[in-house]
Protein backbone atom coordinates (compact mmCIF):
# COMPACT_ATOMS: atom_id res chain seq x y z
CA UNK A 1 0.00 0.00 0.00
CA UNK A 2 1.13 3.51 -0.75
CA UNK A 3 2.07 5.52 2.27
CA UNK A 4 -0.33 8.41 2.43
CA UNK A 5 0.63 11.70 3.96
CA UNK A 6 -1.57 14.58 4.98
CA UNK A 7 0.25 16.91 2.60
CA UNK A 8 -1.04 15.01 -0.44
CA UNK A 9 -4.62 16.01 0.22
CA UNK A 10 -6.83 19.00 0.23
CA UNK A 11 -10.35 19.50 1.51
CA UNK A 12 -13.19 20.01 -0.93
CA UNK A 13 -16.37 21.63 0.35
CA UNK A 14 -18.35 20.98 -2.85
CA UNK A 15 -18.05 24.71 -3.55
CA UNK A 16 -19.17 24.39 -7.14
CA UNK A 17 -22.29 22.45 -6.23
CA UNK A 18 -23.07 24.82 -3.37
CA UNK A 19 -22.81 27.79 -5.72
CA UNK A 20 -25.00 26.00 -8.22
CA UNK A 21 -27.55 25.23 -5.52
CA UNK A 22 -27.45 28.87 -4.49
CA UNK A 23 -27.87 30.04 -8.09
CA UNK A 24 -30.77 27.71 -8.86
CA UNK A 25 -32.43 28.59 -5.54
CA UNK A 26 -32.05 32.29 -6.29
CA UNK A 27 -33.64 31.79 -9.71
CA UNK A 28 -36.55 29.88 -8.16
CA UNK A 29 -36.87 32.62 -5.57
CA UNK A 30 -37.07 35.33 -8.23
CA UNK A 31 -39.58 33.28 -10.22
CA UNK A 32 -41.72 32.79 -7.11
CA UNK A 33 -41.46 36.48 -6.26
CA UNK A 34 -42.69 37.36 -9.76
CA UNK A 35 -45.39 34.68 -9.80
CA UNK A 36 -48.23 36.89 -8.48
CA UNK A 37 -47.88 39.07 -11.61
CA UNK A 38 -48.16 36.10 -13.94
CA UNK A 39 -50.60 33.78 -12.22
CA UNK A 40 -53.98 34.11 -10.64
CA UNK A 41 -53.46 35.82 -7.24
CA UNK A 42 -55.81 33.26 -5.71
CA UNK A 43 -53.34 30.52 -6.59
CA UNK A 44 -50.26 32.31 -5.40
CA UNK A 45 -51.80 33.36 -2.12
CA UNK A 46 -52.56 29.71 -1.41
CA UNK A 47 -48.80 29.16 -1.58
CA UNK A 48 -48.32 31.32 1.49
CA UNK A 49 -49.27 28.31 3.53
CA UNK A 50 -46.68 26.19 1.70
CA UNK A 51 -44.00 28.78 2.45
CA UNK A 52 -44.66 28.89 6.16
CA UNK A 53 -44.98 25.12 6.32
CA UNK A 54 -41.51 24.71 4.78
CA UNK A 55 -40.20 27.34 7.20
CA UNK A 56 -41.69 25.49 10.17
CA UNK A 57 -40.42 22.09 8.98
CA UNK A 58 -36.94 23.46 8.30
CA UNK A 59 -36.74 25.00 11.76
CA UNK A 60 -38.00 21.86 13.50
CA UNK A 61 -35.50 19.81 11.53
CA UNK A 62 -32.68 22.10 12.65
CA UNK A 63 -33.83 21.60 16.21
CA UNK A 64 -34.46 17.85 16.22
CA UNK A 65 -32.59 16.56 13.20
CA UNK A 66 -29.35 18.41 13.80
CA UNK A 67 -29.23 19.39 17.45
CA UNK A 68 -31.14 16.35 18.75
CA UNK A 69 -33.80 18.40 20.57
CA UNK A 70 -37.19 16.82 19.99
CA UNK A 71 -39.53 19.65 20.89
CA UNK A 72 -43.31 19.43 20.82
CA UNK A 73 -43.64 23.00 22.05
CA UNK A 74 -42.71 25.12 19.03
CA UNK A 75 -46.32 26.37 19.00
CA UNK A 76 -45.23 28.59 21.90
CA UNK A 77 -43.15 30.64 19.47
CA UNK A 78 -45.67 30.40 16.64
CA UNK A 79 -48.23 31.90 19.01
CA UNK A 80 -45.85 34.51 20.35
CA UNK A 81 -44.96 35.52 16.79
CA UNK A 82 -48.64 35.90 15.98
CA UNK A 83 -49.40 37.92 19.11
CA UNK A 84 -46.18 39.88 18.64
CA UNK A 85 -47.71 41.29 15.46
CA UNK A 86 -50.53 42.82 17.57
CA UNK A 87 -48.14 44.16 20.17
CA UNK A 88 -45.87 45.96 17.73
CA UNK A 89 -48.71 46.91 15.41
CA UNK A 90 -50.42 48.62 18.35
CA UNK A 91 -47.15 50.44 19.03
CA UNK A 92 -47.40 51.96 15.57
CA UNK A 93 -45.35 49.64 13.34
CA UNK A 94 -46.95 48.23 10.21
CA UNK A 95 -47.86 44.55 10.30
CA UNK A 96 -44.86 43.43 8.26
CA UNK A 97 -42.15 45.15 10.30
CA UNK A 98 -44.02 43.96 13.40
CA UNK A 99 -43.38 40.39 12.26
CA UNK A 100 -39.64 41.01 12.09
CA UNK A 101 -39.48 42.91 15.38
CA UNK A 102 -41.58 40.22 17.05
CA UNK A 103 -39.13 37.53 15.98
CA UNK A 104 -36.31 39.38 17.69
CA UNK A 105 -38.42 39.74 20.82
CA UNK A 106 -39.25 36.02 20.69
CA UNK A 107 -35.54 35.23 20.38
CA UNK A 108 -34.99 37.27 23.53
CA UNK A 109 -37.71 35.27 25.28
CA UNK A 110 -36.57 31.86 23.99
CA UNK A 111 -32.99 32.31 25.16
CA UNK A 112 -33.81 32.46 28.89
CA UNK A 113 -36.53 29.80 28.41
CA UNK A 114 -33.83 27.45 27.11
CA UNK A 115 -32.25 27.46 30.56
CA UNK A 116 -35.48 25.98 31.91
CA UNK A 117 -36.03 23.55 29.04
CA UNK A 118 -32.42 22.29 28.98
CA UNK A 119 -32.69 21.00 32.51
CA UNK A 120 -34.68 18.17 30.97
CA UNK A 121 -33.48 15.44 28.59
CA UNK A 122 -35.01 13.28 25.88
CA UNK A 123 -38.69 12.59 26.40
CA UNK A 124 -38.80 14.86 29.42
CA UNK A 125 -37.47 17.70 27.30
CA UNK A 126 -40.25 17.08 24.76
CA UNK A 127 -42.96 17.20 27.42
CA UNK A 128 -41.26 20.17 29.08
CA UNK A 129 -41.41 22.21 25.87
CA UNK A 130 -45.10 21.40 25.58
CA UNK A 131 -45.67 22.55 29.15
CA UNK A 132 -43.83 25.78 28.40
CA UNK A 133 -46.07 26.31 25.36
CA UNK A 134 -49.18 25.81 27.50
CA UNK A 135 -47.83 28.22 30.10
CA UNK A 136 -47.15 30.84 27.43
CA UNK A 137 -50.72 30.46 26.13
CA UNK A 138 -52.11 30.81 29.65
CA UNK A 139 -50.12 34.00 30.16
CA UNK A 140 -51.12 35.51 26.79
CA UNK A 141 -54.86 35.05 27.44
CA UNK A 142 -54.53 37.06 30.68
CA UNK A 143 -54.13 40.20 28.57
CA UNK A 144 -57.38 41.87 27.64
CA UNK A 145 -55.74 44.11 25.06
CA UNK A 146 -54.61 40.94 23.24
CA UNK A 147 -58.20 39.74 23.07
CA UNK A 148 -57.93 37.51 26.13
CA UNK A 149 -59.33 34.07 25.28
CA UNK A 150 -61.25 35.32 22.24
CA UNK A 151 -58.52 36.11 19.78
CA UNK A 152 -58.39 39.46 17.98
CA UNK A 153 -57.56 41.03 14.68
CA UNK A 154 -54.88 43.38 13.41
CA UNK A 155 -56.05 46.97 13.92
CA UNK A 156 -53.98 49.00 11.46
CA UNK A 157 -53.51 47.31 8.14
CA UNK A 158 -52.98 48.04 4.47
CA UNK A 159 -56.36 48.92 3.07
CA UNK A 160 -56.19 47.38 -0.38
CA UNK A 161 -56.84 43.62 -0.13
CA UNK A 162 -54.85 42.89 -3.32
CA UNK A 163 -51.73 44.58 -2.01
CA UNK A 164 -52.36 43.05 1.37
CA UNK A 165 -52.19 39.55 -0.09
CA UNK A 166 -49.22 40.42 -2.24
CA UNK A 167 -47.21 41.77 0.69
CA UNK A 168 -48.05 38.75 2.82
CA UNK A 169 -46.95 36.50 -0.03
CA UNK A 170 -43.61 38.27 -0.31
CA UNK A 171 -43.15 38.29 3.43
CA UNK A 172 -43.76 34.54 3.63
CA UNK A 173 -41.42 33.93 0.69
CA UNK A 174 -38.72 36.14 2.20
CA UNK A 175 -38.99 34.36 5.54
CA UNK A 176 -38.74 30.99 3.81
CA UNK A 177 -35.61 32.10 1.95
CA UNK A 178 -34.13 33.44 5.17
CA UNK A 179 -34.82 30.16 7.01
CA UNK A 180 -33.18 28.11 4.26
CA UNK A 181 -30.18 30.42 3.95
CA UNK A 182 -29.59 30.46 7.72
CA UNK A 183 -29.86 26.65 7.90
CA UNK A 184 -27.58 26.08 4.92
CA UNK A 185 -25.03 28.61 6.13
CA UNK A 186 -25.11 27.27 9.68
CA UNK A 187 -24.51 23.70 8.54
CA UNK A 188 -21.70 24.65 6.20
CA UNK A 189 -20.04 26.79 8.84
CA UNK A 190 -17.75 25.52 11.56
CA UNK A 191 -20.77 25.14 13.81
CA UNK A 192 -22.32 22.64 11.38
CA UNK A 193 -19.72 20.06 12.38
CA UNK A 194 -20.47 20.70 16.04
CA UNK A 195 -24.21 20.34 15.49
CA UNK A 196 -23.86 17.09 13.59
CA UNK A 197 -21.42 15.74 16.19
CA UNK A 198 -23.88 16.53 18.96
CA UNK A 199 -26.67 14.83 17.02
CA UNK A 200 -24.60 11.65 16.62
CA UNK A 201 -23.01 11.41 20.06
CA UNK A 202 -23.26 14.03 22.74
CA UNK A 203 -20.77 12.44 25.16
CA UNK A 204 -18.08 12.20 22.49
CA UNK A 205 -18.85 15.73 21.28
CA UNK A 206 -18.20 17.12 24.75
CA UNK A 207 -15.01 15.08 25.14
CA UNK A 208 -13.77 16.68 21.91
CA UNK A 209 -14.25 20.19 23.25
CA UNK A 210 -17.66 21.08 21.85
CA UNK A 211 -19.72 23.28 24.13
CA UNK A 212 -22.93 21.30 23.73
CA UNK A 213 -25.30 23.46 25.74
CA UNK A 214 -24.17 26.71 24.12
CA UNK A 215 -24.50 25.25 20.63
CA UNK A 216 -27.94 23.89 21.45
CA UNK A 217 -28.99 27.22 22.94
CA UNK A 218 -28.09 29.03 19.73
CA UNK A 219 -30.11 26.55 17.66
CA UNK A 220 -33.02 26.64 20.12
CA UNK A 221 -33.14 30.43 19.79
CA UNK A 222 -32.88 30.41 16.00
CA UNK A 223 -35.63 27.77 15.76
CA UNK A 224 -37.85 29.85 18.05
CA UNK A 225 -37.29 32.95 15.91
CA UNK A 226 -38.12 30.95 12.77
CA UNK A 227 -41.30 29.62 14.34
CA UNK A 228 -42.16 33.16 15.41
CA UNK A 229 -41.81 34.47 11.86
CA UNK A 230 -44.03 31.66 10.59
CA UNK A 231 -46.54 32.49 13.32
CA UNK A 232 -46.56 36.13 12.25
CA UNK A 233 -47.27 35.09 8.67
CA UNK A 234 -50.16 32.90 9.85
CA UNK A 235 -51.55 35.84 11.79
CA UNK A 236 -51.11 38.39 9.01
CA UNK A 237 -52.65 36.11 6.39
CA UNK A 238 -55.75 35.65 8.55
CA UNK A 239 -55.63 39.34 9.59
CA UNK A 240 -55.68 38.18 13.18
CA UNK A 241 -55.89 35.22 15.44
CA UNK A 242 -59.19 33.33 15.55
CA UNK A 243 -58.49 31.89 18.97
CA UNK A 244 -55.46 31.45 21.19
CA UNK A 245 -56.21 27.73 21.40
CA UNK A 246 -55.76 27.45 17.66
CA UNK A 247 -52.50 29.40 17.32
CA UNK A 248 -51.00 27.70 20.39
CA UNK A 249 -52.24 24.30 19.26
CA UNK A 250 -49.95 21.31 19.71
CA UNK A 251 -51.09 20.09 16.31
CA UNK A 252 -48.55 22.49 14.78
CA UNK A 253 -45.87 20.37 16.41
CA UNK A 254 -47.53 17.21 15.17
CA UNK A 255 -47.51 18.55 11.59
CA UNK A 256 -43.91 19.69 11.86
CA UNK A 257 -42.87 16.22 13.05
CA UNK A 258 -44.93 14.67 10.27
CA UNK A 259 -43.36 16.80 7.55
CA UNK A 260 -39.80 16.27 8.77
CA UNK A 261 -40.14 12.51 9.28
CA UNK A 262 -41.86 11.96 5.93
CA UNK A 263 -39.33 14.08 4.07
CA UNK A 264 -36.22 12.88 5.87
CA UNK A 265 -34.86 14.10 9.18
CA UNK A 266 -31.33 15.45 9.35
CA UNK A 267 -31.21 16.66 5.75
CA UNK A 268 -31.88 20.14 4.39
CA UNK A 269 -33.94 18.79 1.50
CA UNK A 270 -36.13 16.45 3.58
CA UNK A 271 -38.30 19.06 5.32
CA UNK A 272 -38.94 20.79 1.98
CA UNK A 273 -40.09 17.52 0.42
CA UNK A 274 -42.18 16.69 3.49
CA UNK A 275 -43.80 20.12 3.56
CA UNK A 276 -44.70 19.95 -0.14
CA UNK A 277 -46.28 16.51 0.38
CA UNK A 278 -48.22 17.72 3.38
CA UNK A 279 -49.33 20.86 1.55
CA UNK A 280 -50.55 18.91 -1.48
CA UNK A 281 -52.41 16.40 0.69
CA UNK A 282 -53.89 19.18 2.75
CA UNK A 283 -54.96 21.03 -0.39
CA UNK A 284 -56.76 18.08 -1.97
CA UNK A 285 -57.88 15.90 0.90
CA UNK A 286 -58.57 18.19 3.84
CA UNK A 287 -62.30 18.27 3.00
CA UNK A 288 -62.44 14.56 3.79
CA UNK A 289 -62.52 15.52 7.45
CA UNK A 290 -61.65 12.68 9.77
CA UNK A 291 -60.56 10.40 6.92
CA UNK A 292 -57.93 12.94 5.97
CA UNK A 293 -56.21 12.43 9.32
CA UNK A 294 -56.46 8.68 8.86
CA UNK A 295 -54.71 9.00 5.49
CA UNK A 296 -51.99 11.21 7.01
CA UNK A 297 -51.44 8.67 9.78
CA UNK A 298 -51.33 5.81 7.30
CA UNK A 299 -48.75 7.65 5.20
CA UNK A 300 -46.63 8.29 8.29
CA UNK A 301 -46.78 4.62 9.24
CA UNK A 302 -45.89 3.45 5.72
CA UNK A 303 -42.96 5.83 5.42
CA UNK A 304 -41.52 4.90 8.82
CA UNK A 305 -41.90 1.21 7.97
CA UNK A 306 -40.47 1.22 4.48
CA UNK A 307 -38.42 4.42 4.28
CA UNK A 308 -37.19 4.86 7.85
CA UNK A 309 -34.93 7.74 6.77
CA UNK A 310 -37.77 9.51 5.02
CA UNK A 311 -38.26 10.09 1.33
CA UNK A 312 -35.23 12.29 0.81
CA UNK A 313 -33.14 10.10 3.12
CA UNK A 314 -33.91 7.13 0.88
CA UNK A 315 -33.10 9.09 -2.28
CA UNK A 316 -29.86 10.30 -0.74
CA UNK A 317 -28.87 6.80 0.29
CA UNK A 318 -29.72 5.29 -3.08
CA UNK A 319 -28.19 7.87 -5.39
CA UNK A 320 -25.85 9.65 -3.00
CA UNK A 321 -26.94 13.11 -4.04
CA UNK A 322 -27.58 16.18 -1.99
CA UNK A 323 -28.85 19.43 -3.45
CA UNK A 324 -27.41 21.46 -0.60
CA UNK A 325 -24.01 19.93 0.16
CA UNK A 326 -22.74 20.60 3.68
CA UNK A 327 -20.06 17.89 3.87
CA UNK A 328 -16.32 17.77 3.42
CA UNK A 329 -14.48 15.59 0.97
CA UNK A 330 -10.79 14.83 0.93
CA UNK A 331 -9.29 14.89 -2.55
CA UNK A 332 -5.72 14.17 -3.53
CA UNK A 333 -3.76 17.15 -4.74
CA UNK A 334 -3.12 16.69 -8.46
CA UNK A 335 -0.31 14.30 -9.45
CA UNK A 336 0.57 13.43 -5.89
CA UNK A 337 -1.19 10.09 -5.77
CA UNK A 338 -3.80 8.32 -7.85
CA UNK A 339 -7.41 9.00 -6.89
CA UNK A 340 -8.28 5.35 -6.53
CA UNK A 341 -6.19 5.04 -3.36
CA UNK A 342 -9.05 6.82 -1.64
CA UNK A 343 -12.20 4.86 -1.18
CA UNK A 344 -15.42 6.79 -1.78
CA UNK A 345 -13.51 9.68 -3.30
CA UNK A 346 -15.64 9.68 -6.40
CA UNK A 347 -18.84 11.02 -4.95
Amino acid sequence: MTTLTAASFRVDRYQKRALMAGGVSAAIFVALAAAPYLLDPAITSSWIKLFYLITLATMWNLLAGYAGMVSVGQQAYIGLGAYGVFVFNDLGFDAYSSALIASIAVGAIALPLSFVAFRLRGGYFAIGTWVIAEAVRQIIIRFDELGAGRGRSISTYTGDPVFRNLFTYWLALGILALALIVTFYLLRSRMGIALQSIRDNEVAARALGINVSRTKRIVFTIAAMGASLAGSVICIQAIGVASPNQIFSVSYSAFMIFMVLIGGIGTIEGPIVGAVIYFVMDFYFSQLGLWYLVVLGLLAILVTLFLPKGIWGAIHERFNISLFPVGHRIVPIADHIPTKVLSNADV
Binding site: L208, G209, L342
Partner: protein
Protein backbone atom coordinates in the same frame (compact mmCIF):
# COMPACT_ATOMS: atom_id res chain seq x y z
CA UNK B 1 -6.36 17.24 52.08
CA UNK B 2 -3.82 16.89 49.30
CA UNK B 3 -1.31 14.32 50.36
CA UNK B 4 -0.25 13.24 46.91
CA UNK B 5 3.14 13.86 45.43
CA UNK B 6 2.45 17.30 44.07
CA UNK B 7 5.53 18.36 42.26
CA UNK B 8 5.50 21.49 40.16
CA UNK B 9 5.99 19.48 37.02
CA UNK B 10 2.86 17.37 37.45
CA UNK B 11 0.60 17.78 34.45
CA UNK B 12 -2.15 15.85 36.16
CA UNK B 13 -2.91 15.39 39.83
CA UNK B 14 -5.66 13.16 41.12
CA UNK B 15 -6.28 13.87 44.79
CA UNK B 16 -8.36 11.56 46.98
CA UNK B 17 -10.82 11.01 44.14
CA UNK B 18 -13.86 8.88 44.88
CA UNK B 19 -16.75 8.00 42.61
CA UNK B 20 -19.92 6.20 43.55
CA UNK B 21 -23.22 5.57 41.83
CA UNK B 22 -25.69 5.53 44.69
CA UNK B 23 -24.54 2.84 47.07
CA UNK B 24 -22.10 1.39 44.55
CA UNK B 25 -18.60 2.62 45.31
CA UNK B 26 -16.55 2.42 42.11
CA UNK B 27 -13.48 4.43 43.11
CA UNK B 28 -12.22 5.03 46.64
CA UNK B 29 -9.50 7.52 47.54
CA UNK B 30 -7.43 7.48 44.38
CA UNK B 31 -4.23 9.50 44.62
CA UNK B 32 -1.71 9.86 41.87
CA UNK B 33 0.19 12.44 39.93
CA UNK B 34 1.54 12.27 36.41
CA UNK B 35 4.56 14.39 35.51
CA UNK B 36 4.65 16.08 32.11
CA UNK B 37 5.86 13.73 29.40
CA UNK B 38 5.33 10.49 31.28
CA UNK B 39 3.50 7.50 29.83
CA UNK B 40 1.52 5.67 32.48
CA UNK B 41 -0.14 2.31 31.95
CA UNK B 42 -3.18 1.27 33.97
CA UNK B 43 -3.95 -2.40 34.41
CA UNK B 44 -6.47 -4.16 36.58
CA UNK B 45 -9.20 -6.77 36.41
CA UNK B 46 -12.57 -6.07 34.78
CA UNK B 47 -14.75 -3.84 36.90
CA UNK B 48 -11.79 -2.38 38.78
CA UNK B 49 -12.89 1.13 37.85
CA UNK B 50 -10.27 1.89 35.20
CA UNK B 51 -12.61 3.47 32.65
CA UNK B 52 -14.43 5.34 35.42
CA UNK B 53 -11.10 6.79 36.56
CA UNK B 54 -10.45 7.99 33.00
CA UNK B 55 -13.93 9.50 32.87
CA UNK B 56 -13.39 11.33 36.14
CA UNK B 57 -10.07 12.67 34.82
CA UNK B 58 -11.51 13.99 31.55
CA UNK B 59 -14.79 15.12 33.09
CA UNK B 60 -17.22 12.78 31.36
CA UNK B 61 -18.11 11.74 34.91
CA UNK B 62 -17.92 14.00 37.94
CA UNK B 63 -15.98 12.80 40.99
CA UNK B 64 -18.11 12.30 44.08
CA UNK B 65 -15.22 13.48 46.25
CA UNK B 66 -11.65 14.66 45.81
CA UNK B 67 -10.14 16.88 43.15
CA UNK B 68 -8.52 16.70 39.75
CA UNK B 69 -5.79 19.19 38.87
CA UNK B 70 -4.67 19.71 35.29
CA UNK B 71 -1.59 21.78 34.67
CA UNK B 72 -1.91 23.22 38.17
CA UNK B 73 -5.56 24.26 37.74
CA UNK B 74 -8.43 22.67 39.62
CA UNK B 75 -10.69 21.24 36.91
CA UNK B 76 -12.89 19.13 39.21
CA UNK B 77 -15.98 21.23 38.52
CA UNK B 78 -15.33 21.87 34.85
CA UNK B 79 -17.09 20.02 32.06
CA UNK B 80 -15.29 17.70 29.65
CA UNK B 81 -15.46 20.26 26.85
CA UNK B 82 -13.43 22.75 28.89
CA UNK B 83 -10.89 20.09 29.80
CA UNK B 84 -10.66 19.00 26.16
CA UNK B 85 -9.89 22.55 25.10
CA UNK B 86 -7.31 22.77 27.88
CA UNK B 87 -5.52 19.81 26.32
CA UNK B 88 -7.06 16.52 27.43
CA UNK B 89 -7.78 14.07 24.63
CA UNK B 90 -9.70 10.92 25.37
CA UNK B 91 -10.68 7.76 23.54
CA UNK B 92 -13.64 5.65 24.57
CA UNK B 93 -13.41 1.92 25.17
CA UNK B 94 -16.69 1.42 23.35
CA UNK B 95 -16.23 3.66 20.32
CA UNK B 96 -18.57 6.62 20.01
CA UNK B 97 -18.22 7.65 16.37
CA UNK B 98 -20.23 10.43 14.78
CA UNK B 99 -21.84 7.91 12.46
CA UNK B 100 -23.29 10.28 9.86
CA UNK B 101 -20.06 12.20 9.45
CA UNK B 102 -17.09 11.00 7.45
CA UNK B 103 -13.86 9.92 9.14
CA UNK B 104 -12.33 13.26 8.16
CA UNK B 105 -15.26 15.21 9.57
CA UNK B 106 -15.00 13.25 12.82
CA UNK B 107 -11.39 14.37 13.14
CA UNK B 108 -12.32 17.89 12.03
CA UNK B 109 -14.70 18.09 14.97
CA UNK B 110 -11.80 17.55 17.37
CA UNK B 111 -9.49 19.88 15.46
CA UNK B 112 -12.06 22.69 15.33
CA UNK B 113 -13.19 22.59 18.93
CA UNK B 114 -10.66 20.66 21.04
CA UNK B 115 -7.70 22.34 19.35
CA UNK B 116 -9.72 25.53 18.73
CA UNK B 117 -8.67 25.87 15.10
CA UNK B 118 -10.45 27.53 12.18
CA UNK B 119 -10.57 27.02 8.44
CA UNK B 120 -7.47 25.68 6.77
CA UNK B 121 -5.58 25.22 10.04
CA UNK B 122 -8.36 22.96 11.32
CA UNK B 123 -8.40 20.99 8.05
CA UNK B 124 -4.66 20.45 8.25
CA UNK B 125 -4.76 19.41 11.88
CA UNK B 126 -7.51 16.88 11.12
CA UNK B 127 -5.55 15.48 8.17
CA UNK B 128 -2.46 15.29 10.34
CA UNK B 129 -4.34 13.32 12.99
CA UNK B 130 -5.62 10.93 10.32
CA UNK B 131 -2.09 10.46 9.04
CA UNK B 132 -0.77 9.73 12.55
CA UNK B 133 -3.44 7.13 13.14
CA UNK B 134 -3.17 5.65 9.65
CA UNK B 135 -6.69 6.53 8.61
CA UNK B 136 -6.09 8.75 5.60
CA UNK B 137 -7.24 6.06 3.18
CA UNK B 138 -10.62 5.98 4.94
CA UNK B 139 -11.01 9.77 5.16
CA UNK B 140 -14.19 9.95 3.07
CA UNK B 141 -15.90 6.90 4.55
CA UNK B 142 -18.91 7.59 6.78
CA UNK B 143 -17.89 6.60 10.30
CA UNK B 144 -21.04 4.52 10.67
CA UNK B 145 -19.77 2.17 7.98
CA UNK B 146 -16.46 1.43 9.71
CA UNK B 147 -15.81 -1.99 11.22
CA UNK B 148 -15.02 -2.14 14.95
CA UNK B 149 -11.26 -1.95 14.66
CA UNK B 150 -11.36 1.08 12.42
CA UNK B 151 -13.76 2.68 14.89
CA UNK B 152 -11.14 2.23 17.59
CA UNK B 153 -8.54 3.87 15.41
CA UNK B 154 -11.00 6.67 14.73
CA UNK B 155 -11.22 7.22 18.49
CA UNK B 156 -7.46 7.73 18.49
CA UNK B 157 -7.55 9.98 15.41
CA UNK B 158 -10.24 12.19 16.92
CA UNK B 159 -8.43 12.50 20.24
CA UNK B 160 -5.20 13.38 18.43
CA UNK B 161 -6.99 15.99 16.36
CA UNK B 162 -7.66 17.96 19.56
CA UNK B 163 -3.87 18.39 19.86
CA UNK B 164 -3.77 16.96 23.38
CA UNK B 165 -1.08 17.50 25.96
CA UNK B 166 -2.56 14.64 27.96
CA UNK B 167 -3.83 11.66 26.00
CA UNK B 168 -6.18 9.26 27.77
CA UNK B 169 -6.43 5.92 25.97
CA UNK B 170 -9.03 3.35 26.92
CA UNK B 171 -8.27 -0.13 25.57
CA UNK B 172 -7.48 0.70 22.00
CA UNK B 173 -5.26 -2.36 21.36
CA UNK B 174 -7.81 -5.02 22.25
CA UNK B 175 -8.77 -7.21 19.28
CA UNK B 176 -5.94 -6.11 17.00
CA UNK B 177 -3.78 -8.59 15.11
CA UNK B 178 -0.11 -8.87 16.03
CA UNK B 179 0.96 -6.64 13.14
CA UNK B 180 -1.76 -4.04 13.79
CA UNK B 181 -0.84 -4.02 17.45
CA UNK B 182 2.82 -3.45 16.61
CA UNK B 183 2.00 -0.49 14.40
CA UNK B 184 -0.28 0.94 17.08
CA UNK B 185 2.50 0.58 19.66
CA UNK B 186 4.83 2.34 17.26
CA UNK B 187 2.33 5.18 16.83
CA UNK B 188 1.83 5.63 20.56
CA UNK B 189 5.55 5.39 21.26
CA UNK B 190 6.00 8.13 18.67
CA UNK B 191 3.42 10.33 20.41
CA UNK B 192 5.15 9.68 23.72
CA UNK B 193 8.51 10.60 22.18
CA UNK B 194 7.02 13.84 20.87
CA UNK B 195 6.34 14.85 24.47
CA UNK B 196 2.64 14.01 24.89
CA UNK B 197 1.77 12.76 28.35
CA UNK B 198 -0.14 9.48 28.12
CA UNK B 199 -2.40 7.49 30.42
CA UNK B 200 -3.24 4.18 28.80
CA UNK B 201 -5.62 1.51 30.06
CA UNK B 202 -4.92 -1.79 28.37
CA UNK B 203 -5.42 -5.50 28.81
CA UNK B 204 -2.79 -6.28 26.19
CA UNK B 205 0.05 -5.93 28.67
CA UNK B 206 2.74 -6.63 26.09
CA UNK B 207 1.70 -3.56 24.08
CA UNK B 208 1.53 -1.50 27.22
CA UNK B 209 4.97 -2.50 28.48
CA UNK B 210 6.51 -1.56 25.13
CA UNK B 211 5.58 2.09 25.70
CA UNK B 212 4.98 3.03 29.34
CA UNK B 213 7.50 4.32 31.87
CA UNK B 214 5.27 3.54 34.79
CA UNK B 215 2.53 1.10 35.60
CA UNK B 216 -0.41 1.46 37.95
CA UNK B 217 -2.65 -1.39 39.01
CA UNK B 218 -6.23 -0.74 39.99
CA UNK B 219 -8.40 -3.28 41.77
CA UNK B 220 -11.83 -2.77 43.34
CA UNK B 221 -11.53 0.97 42.97
CA UNK B 222 -8.19 1.45 44.71
CA UNK B 223 -4.60 1.65 43.56
CA UNK B 224 -2.81 -1.46 44.71
CA UNK B 225 0.49 -0.96 42.94
CA UNK B 226 2.31 1.96 41.34
CA UNK B 227 5.85 2.07 40.01
CA UNK B 228 8.30 0.60 37.52
CA UNK B 229 6.39 -1.61 35.04
CA UNK B 230 8.46 -4.72 35.77
CA UNK B 231 8.23 -4.27 39.50
CA UNK B 232 4.46 -3.77 39.35
CA UNK B 233 3.92 -6.80 37.13
CA UNK B 234 5.88 -9.04 39.50
CA UNK B 235 4.41 -7.69 42.72
CA UNK B 236 2.48 -10.28 44.71
CA UNK B 237 -0.53 -7.98 45.09
CA UNK B 238 -0.94 -7.64 41.33
CA UNK B 239 -0.48 -11.37 40.81
CA UNK B 240 -3.08 -12.04 43.44
CA UNK B 241 -5.81 -9.85 41.89
CA UNK B 242 -5.10 -11.24 38.45
CA UNK B 243 -4.47 -14.88 39.19
CA UNK B 244 -6.10 -15.50 42.55
CA UNK B 245 -4.50 -15.99 45.95
CA UNK B 246 -3.65 -19.65 45.43
CA UNK B 247 -0.46 -18.92 43.56
Amino acid sequence: MSESVSTEKSLLEVNAVAKSYGALQVLTEINFAVPTGQAVGIVGPNGAGKSTLLSVINGTERATAGSVLFDGCDVTDLGPEVRARAGMGRTFQIPRPFTHLTVFENALSGASYGAGLYGKAADEQALHALELSGMLDLANTPAGKLPLLARKRLELARALATRPRLLLLDEIAGGLTEAECDSLVETIAGLHASGITIIWIEHVVKALLAVVDRLVCLASGTLIADGQPDAVMSSTEVRRVYLGSGI
